[in-house]
Amino acid sequence: MTQRTRNLLLLAPAGTWFLVMLIVPLSVVLIFSFGERAPAGGVVPAFTFEQYANLPARWAAFRNTLFLAPVGTIAALLIAYPLAYYLAVKVDPKWKMLLLVLVIVPFWTSILIRSYAWIFLLGGRGIPALLGWIGFEDIRLINTPFSVLVGIIYGYLPLMVFPLFVSLDRLDKRLLEASSDLGAKPWRTFAQITLPLSVPGIATGCMLVFILLMGEFLIPALLGGGKVFFVGNALVDLFLQSRNWAYGSAVAVTLVVVMLITVTIYMRLISRLGAHREDVSLM
């Protein structure tokens, strides 16, 4: 067996998977998107741009997604960074492993069940009741963009913590000492040493969370009460309720294109911030 055949054989499972689970379905979706809705639902083949012309009817879903996905990502970053920093730099090494495991523990329970728990926490008898008790009456949390944001941050925080932790953990602590020896104040050490060296972690974490958020549907469905609609929810609706596969495919193709564009712009920005492309482990 030559080196070449062996390589091909080793790549075959992944390659087949990639072809059957990604390339073929995506091609089908692309073909469907030029079709028409069948009378009882489904799709009939055609070649029309009618579905794409109808895209503005889902503008609100795209707007919600393109607003809450970046806001959720940035909020998760701001919350995760100090935590990751603490875990990587400050904490006593003997506790490090335990604390890291605690970050993963929520993943042992399905996100569906954990989001359900938030329905009760954010509902009228949960946090708003506590707030009412200390004098803030009539605060509505559940089924608002805010509750969706809370769910998003809660659900995706661990995904942000880990890449940050890895890049901060790898940081050469002697650089921090050197910086301090040379007379830099702590904030300056942070701004000029720690932050730039953790850009790969920031880039990976943000990318991971942002891409998943763009396709999110469960959290808005449960915590948005059908009022805070993501593109993912619009897709579920088009396939599972109104059964308009052609239009649904057009929305899906558009989402993929929007995602590719946003991610490309994002990569450009990140590389300008000093991270090298190869630092971002996702790409």
């Binding site: 879903a61 008898r125 559940i142 089924n143 009460g225 929810n233 396939f239 599972l240 109104s242």
Partner: protein, 386 residues
């Protein structure tokens, strides 16, 4: 009760007997402590004729049956009894709309054995080839003559039986009167008007085109089933205008009504009955302009993986004694006279289950065209993503 290691002394037995005679303990307590209850059960089990009769013809039906149904729609104890009698475990999938059920079946591979379609959808399932014709001989508990034809006729298409009636009901509104000075409202006009006023942020509508669009159409006095483009445009305008004032768009409204987050909702009569029973301040009202009357059916999707278990489950649930327990749990009336006879008097005269004739007459059965009309489907999807 299979343990008989403990026996009771003669003296203790007599004491217990006197306590029971004096009335200071219940009969159940007496039978338990003396072991007489267990003894009777053991004796009973030894006599084959006294054993609970399996609800199906003997034979192995497999270890599971998968049921696609609606929220709060069954008596869990009945499923346990079914499993006990047949060995088949009942796995329940819950849906929020007929459109969702249809979409799953159209996509194929649903894996369901039994599902619960509503009257107006059955002709579409037949024309799409998604429903199995029923063999009535496998449903000995189905006594067609005992059913009120109004709630059973949609189960047959061109003389072929496809679905047997489960129960029927109405679609009205449920209002927590405590937030409206103790008063209920009476119409769909008031429903949408109060939502944009004192009930802002407290109202729920179904995640279901038939009822949400239908009741919005009733606001203008149009037919619940309209597919007229101008009338649908009016309904859409109303819904979009109301949307910022809604608490949620969801067919699972009981939790929010019970927690007090929502004060007003579109509501199926059985949910109305369940809510009203537990919280008398929640009233169930039929809109004065009309609205929906419907009947749900048991049916078997084409290619069900556990066909024998499907027949066994439907037959079991149609047993009047079992069905009566279902009605007590879900609060929807059955069209089956045999089951009706087993219901307690209070339920047979219940105004939520059996509304007065003058309230029933303006109601409409859903029309098949609403299920497949592309404009209604897209209107609902637009409303949700607005």
């Amino acid at each position: 009760m299979t343990k008989f290691n403990d026996y009771i002394s003669k003296q203790k037995f007599m004491e217990e007997l006197y306590r029971y005679k004096r009335g200071s303990v219940t009969r159940r307590h007496f039978l338990n402590v003396t072991g007489l209850g267990a003894a009777t059960a053991v004796l009973g089990a030894a006599v084959p004729g006294l054993l609970p009769r399996p609800a199906f013809a003997a034979g192995d039906i497999g270890d599971r049956v998968i049921l696609a149904t609606w929220p709060n729609y069954h008596e869990p104890a009945n499923f346990e009894a079914f499993t006990e009698a047949t060995g088949a475990h009942v796995q329940v999938n819950v849906f929020g709309s007929n459109e969702e059920m249809l979409a799953k079946l159209q996509a194929g591979g649903s894996g369901w054995d039994v599902y619960v379609p509503t009257n107006y959808t059955i002709t579409t399932y037949v024309s799409e080839g998604l429903i199995e014709p029923l063999d009535a001989s496998k449903l000995p508990n189905y006594d067609a003559s005992a059913f009120d034809a109004r709630y059973a006729e949609a189960g047959s298409v061109d003389g072929q039986l496809y679905a047997v009636p489960k129960d029927w009901g109405t679609t009205g509104l449920a209002i927590n009167t405590a937030h409206n000075g103790g008063k209920a409202i009476t119409s769909w006009k008031e429903f949408f008007d109060i939502t944009r006023d004192s009930f802002s942020g407290r109202t729920m509508v179904h995640d279901y085109q038939l009822t949400t669009i239908g009741n919005a159409l009733k606001y203008f006095g149009y037919s619940f089933n309209s597919v007229d483009e101008a009338e649908l445009a009016d309904a859409e305008k109303l819904l979009i205008d109301v949307k910022p004032h809604l608490f949620a768009i969801s067919s699972d409204y009981q939790p929010s009504m019970r927690s007090g987050d929502a004060w007003l909702t579109m509501c199926w009569s059985g949910d109305g009955k369940q809510l009203n029973t537990d919280m008398p301040e929640i009233a169930y009202v039929l809109g004065a302009e009309g609205g929906e009357i419907w009947s749900d059916y048991y049916a078997i999707p084409k290619g069900a993986p556990h066909m024998d278990a499907a027949y066994a489950l439907i037959n079991f649930l149609l047993d009047p004694a079992v069905n009566a327990k279902e009605v007590l749990a879900h609060g929807y009336p059955t069209a089956d006279a045999n089951t009706f006879a087993l219901l307690p008097e209070s339920l047979r005269n219940d105004p939520i289950l059996f509304p007065a004739q003058e309230l029933l007459s303006p109601l409409e059965f859903g029309a098949a065209q609403t299920l497949t009309d592309p404009n209604r489907a897209e209107l609902m999807a637009r409303f949700k993503s607005a």
